[in-house]
């Protein structure tokens, strides 16, 4: 078949609906979507996907959905919800994916802000939340659902099948309508609105154009040489920019298949079955995986543990280097080869990562040990840097030049510089068009030279790779004027498997103190091995043994901090272990699990004061929200402990 030359092709394939039709034409029988359902991987080819989208789009049109309207999409990663995005786009409308685990109350704001009239929900649970929100959302007219389970008594909702049926009738009645709608689309149109769960204030709707996401997708695809034969596991919230880039945009540009797990519980297993070649996960997931690995290996027999320990140490020594193609002695290469047979290979296999060619992590800084672990067992894990406003696309780590503490070089087509306050500024085709209905905020975020202010403080290293220290606005000063980068400290702490969350305080104070959240599974396991009985998180967190355990971690972190003159003063002097886990439902974390430092500081002011007042006990009672919406109070008498700090003059620890 006579292919048009690349650039013309690219020029004409400038919206997602066009890309969809393109794939349906050039690779009609190539898998586009797989979903684990009814025990097997149900597969849809690009042609089938295109037909589904067509029927759906026509259905929406029949229901009166038209150019410029917004379609709310709420649910776990389901093929039909991804199709809904394309369907809305085909009609010139804008899909607005929303975080499915948010309570109805949080729905209200977004639904109103985006003037949602049409919404597609995954199942009864989401529909219920929509209906709960409805009274406060006058605009909401039409609700559709994917899974009919338990929906029979609902009135004025329409099932997905019904919608598509209407669509097919409509399509038959209006031949050419769909094509004409797709043709009417323009690269400059808004392709999606993603709400940033901003660390402060109400979420903002980030309007991204087809062009922006397609450019970002294409850049990444060329950068990592992705092809239609790659496959990705789609398991992260659809409302999150990362998932939209990897599971939607890049899939549509490169034509590779996305795979939806059966349910949240089966993700690990489904990943093992599918074996994606292209993988994305925020650091916390890699962290959880590693924790699991460690825990499970601790149950193994002595011999196996020895073997594991030995080869892990081999890997630590030379694994990452071998992966980056660096100089490694033949002896080590041999050891690594054996290790690969006995440990790394099997480990990749049980983790479902055997086939991974490229894996990315971003969203928060990843611990060096963690990062190195995955690279050392031969998984090409890299870091990238980006924001919702930049289609999660600003910096990428090139193969062979992967560093532990940077986020890579500016990505193709991205212009990047630092403001004089050290804030990272980016410019490029992937920038947001605007914050929806927030001209002021938009103006604030994009300066007149067209640079977007990321709000991150960073610096370039020798090879021009970007290194992110902290949120620009969070970077504060200790009373003595020394630099105070709370995130940096918190991350250092969180790198320890036993510490799940940490909150550091110190701005305007003369010392640094911290709240700690222990990792229940890791510490719990640790406790069991010492047969230390505990009745739950609060109880465990209060145990003196646990305090000792955590103190060691903090002291190590201090040792590392002490090595960097600029940060030596922000060593943690005192800490306490919180009596409850920080939780998005209590607004202490964002949906992407970033700590809301200010909020926490206010909520637990009494604890902060206690720490600085030098008290070593403090009572606190906190109201909490349970999954089922009930409320309760957790009260505890918290211990506050001091930590040894080191002076910079000490020789560097090895």
């Amino acid at each position: 078949m006579g292919r048009d030359p690349e650039e013309i092709l690219e020029a004409t394939l400038d919206t997602f609906p066009r890309l969809l039709l393109h794939h349906a034409k050039v690779r009609p029988n190539h898998p586009a979507v797989r979903e684990k359902d009814l025990g097997i991987w149900q597969t849809w080819t690009w042609r089938q996907a295109a037909d589904e989208v067509r029927a759906l789009a026509c259905g929406l049109a029949a229901q009166g959905f038209a150019r410029g309207m917004h379609l709310a999409i709420i649910g776990d990663n389901r093929p039909r919800l991804y199709w809904a995005m394309a369907a809305a786009q085909a009609l010139g409308g804008v899909p607005v994916p929303m975080y499915q685990d948010a309570p109805a109350a949080e729905f209200v704001f977004v639904l109103n802000d985006a003037e949602i009239a049409y919404a597609i929900a995954e199942d009864q649970e989401q529909v219920d939340k929509l209906f709960e929100a409805r009274p406060q959302v006058p605009s909401l007219q039409h609700v559709y659902y994917d899974d009919p389970r338990g929906m029979r008594n609902y009135t004025d909702v329409l099932s997905f099948e019904k919608l598509q049926k209407l669509g097919r009738e409509f399509d038959a009645a209006h031949p050419g309508f769909f094509e004409q709608q797709v043709d009417a689309g323009d690269a400059g149109d808004i392709s999606v609105m993603l709400y940033t769960s901003g660390t402060t204030g109400k979420p903002k709707g980030v309007c991204q154009t087809h062009r922006a996401f397609i450019e970002a997708a294409r850049g990444g695809i060329e950068f990592d040489r992705l092809t239609a034969d790659d496959s990705v596991l789609s398991y992260l919230p659809m409302a999150w920019v990362g998932d939209h880039l990897f599971s939607f945009a890049q899939s549509y540009v490169a034509g590779f298949s996305i795979n939806c797990p059966e349910s949240a519980e089966t993700v690990m297993n489904d990943m093992r079955e599918i074996g994606p070649t292209y993988y994305f996960a925020p650091p916390r997931i890699f962290e959880n995986l590693l924790t699991q690995v460690t825990i499970r290996m601790e149950d193994a027999g002595v011999l196996k543990r020895r073997m594991y320990a030995y080869f892990m140490q081999v890997a630590r020594r030379c694994g990452a280097e071998i992966l980056s193609g660096q100089q490694v002695s033949t002896a080590d290469r041999l050891r690594y080869a054996i290790g690969n047979l006995l440990v790394y290979g099997p480990l990749r296999n049980v983790l479902g990562m055997s086939r991974i060619r490229v894996a990315y992590t971003a969203g928060a800084t990843i611990g060096p040990d963690l990062f190195r672990f995955y690279r050392s067992i031969g998984i090409n894990l890299k870091q990238l840097y980006g924001a919702t406003e930049t289609c999660a696309y600003a910096c990428l780590q090139p193969d062979g030049a992967v560093k532990l503490d940077t986020v890579g070089l500016p990505a193709p087509g991205v212009e990047l510089k630092l403001s004089d306050h050290g804030e990272v500024l980016v410019k490029g085709p992937m920038l947001l068009q605007a914050y929806y209905k927030r001209p002021d905020e938009t103006a604030e975020a994009i300066d007149r030279d067209g640079f977007f202010h990321t709000g991150d403080a960073g610096l370039f290293d020798g090879d021009g790779q970007l290194k992110i220290i902290d949120r620009a606005k969070d970077v504060g000063r200790l009373a003595n004027g020394a630099l105070f980068a709370p995130n940096y400290i918190e991350n250092k702490l969180k790198f320890f498997p036993y510490i799940k969350e940490a909150v550091a305080f110190g701005h305007g104070r003369d010392t640094v103190c911290a709240f700690i959240n222990i990792d229940l599974s890791a510490v719990g396991n640790w406790a069991e091995r010492r047969n230390l009985p505990y009745s739950g998180y609060t109880d465990l967190a209060g145990k003196p043994e646990v305090y000792d355990l955590v103190r060691e971690c903090v002291e190590q972190a201090n040792a590392e901090l002490a090595q960097d003159p600029a940060l030596a003063d922000s060593q943690v002097q005192r800490f306490l272990i919180l009596h409850k886990e920080l939780d998005p439902d209590d607004d202490e974390l964002t949906r992407t699990r970033k700590v809301r430092r200010r909020f926490i500081a206010e909520k637990y002011a009494v604890l902060v004061e206690a720490m600085y007042a030098g008290r070593d006990r403090q009572h606190i009672a906190t109201e909490v929200k349970f999954e089922d919406g009930r409320r309760g109070v957790i009260a505890a008498d918290l211990r506050i402990e001091n930590v040894r700090t080191l002076s910079t003059t000490l020789p560097k620890a090895a």
């Binding site: 797989r34 025990g39 097997i40 991987w41 149900q42 597969t43 093992r272 079955e273 599918i274 074996g275 690995v293 499970r296 290996m297 149950d299 193994a300 027999g301 196996k304 073997m307 594991y308 006995l342 440990v343 290979g345 099997p346 480990l347 990749r348 296999n349 049980v350 479902g352 990562m353 055997s354 086939r355």
Partner: protein, 358 residues
């Protein structure tokens, strides 16, 4: 550890229901078959064939048969050998009295004959359970052997009451040499083992297991326990019958009914206990174990004789065998009631989860 299952996802129930859903297993299986059908015939000695492999395969087949009845359908049988006898003598008479019948045809005829007899002695199972049924099968054991001995017609009125198996000729090819016999037996056993596996994993097998695990519940959801049991008896006896025929035609050559005595029945029972009740694999493992054990014992005793010059009376060897068998049965029933097959399964699971312990 050697398993690499990532990316082996199934898009159809067909693939999901495969006997060996994991690629590595399929490869291993093919390799095994190649060894059995090509390598061994090329390298094996006559002794290996006729003293070890042929009996091993035949008894495996019988064990599979018994396992269908006892392991899957839960009907304890102490008469497996009797049904083998029926198969053998029926085949003999088919060849003898039906002019121009192909040997394989005679074998199948023997199998069917055994199946019919099996159904007859299975009838009591419709009313009685457990030991009571075991007794019924004992009755079969004694009655059949007695009948074959006493009724001359079966042995073609041979004075010494033995039959001499006719030469095995299939499509003009004469299976005389041990190697040829081995290949014939191997082929038959392979096919029948596969068939057994198919039944076991299909509707029939589920009915058997349902009747075994909770017959009343099975009845309530529409399974006919009687039919399921009789099927089990028929199929099981068919397998034993074929095994019996092969026993006569490819192993012993000249047989008396007593060759299929209670002792043989017990040995086959032991095979499935040691090998693994309710698995096809168990039949092979158990049979291998019980065929090889005596050889190992006698060899080691000989060695003792020669090296330590303590002249062990020959009777000791056989008694030692009894003791070891007995002890093993008890041991397995206590320590691993699911036998070698389960052990193998556990090892396999460990390999799949490697390096994790569980």
């Amino acid at each position: 550890m050697l398993y690499r299952e990532v990316g082996q996802y199934r898009t159809t129930y067909q693939a999901d229901a495969a006997i060996f859903p994991i690629r590595q297993d399929r490869i291993a299986m093919v390799a095994l078959l190649v060894v059995a059908f090509v390598a061994i015939p090329a390298l094996g000695s006559a002794y290996l064939f006729s003293a070890i492999l042929i009996p091993f395969l035949i008894l495996s087949l019988a064990a599979i048969g018994l396992n269908i009845l006892t392991g899957y359908a839960g009907q304890l049988s102490l008469g497996a050998a009797a049904f083998m006898a029926v198969g053998a003598f029926a085949s003999y008479n088919f060849v003898l009295r039906v002019p121009g019948i192909p040997v394989l045809g005679a074998f199948i005829g023997g199998g069917i004959a055994a199946a019919l007899v099996g159904i007859v002695f299975g009838l009591p199972s419709l009313r009685i359970r457990g030991f009571y049924l075991a007794v019924a099968t004992l009755a079969a054991q004694f009655f059949i052997v007695w009948a074959l001995t006493k009724i001359g017609w079966f042995t073609n009125y041979n004075s010494s009451g033995v039959i001499t198996a006719q030469p095995v000729v299939i499509l003009g090819w004469h299976f005389a040499a041990p190697r040829e016999k081995y290949l014939l037996v191997l082929a038959i056993v392979t096919v029948m083992a596969l068939a057994a596996k198919n039944m076991a994993r299909g509707n029939l097998g589920r009915q058997w297991m349902a009747v075994r695990d909770m017959d009343l519940a099975a009845e309530v959801i529409g399974i006919r326990p009687m039919r399921a049991k009789l099927y089990a008896f028929a199929v099981s006896s068919f397998y034993c019958g074929i095994a019996g025929a092969l026993f006569a035609y490819t192993y012993l050559g000249t047989v008396e009914p007593e060759a299929y005595n209670l002792d043989l029945s017990f040995r086959i029972l032991f095979m499935i206990i040691i090998g693994g009740v309710g698995t096809i694999l168990g039949g092979f493992l158990g049979s291998a174990f019980i065929v090889i054990l005596p050889i190992v014992l006698s060899v080691s005793i000989e060695w003792l004789d020669r090296s330590l010059h303590l002249s062990v009376p020959t009777s000791v060897a056989s008694n030692l065998e009894l003791i070891v068998f007995g002890a093993l049965i008890v041991f397995f029933l206590i320590v691993e009631p699911h036998g070698l097959a389960r052990i193998w399964q556990i090892v396999k699971e460990k390999l799949r989860l490697w390096p994790f312990p569980h």
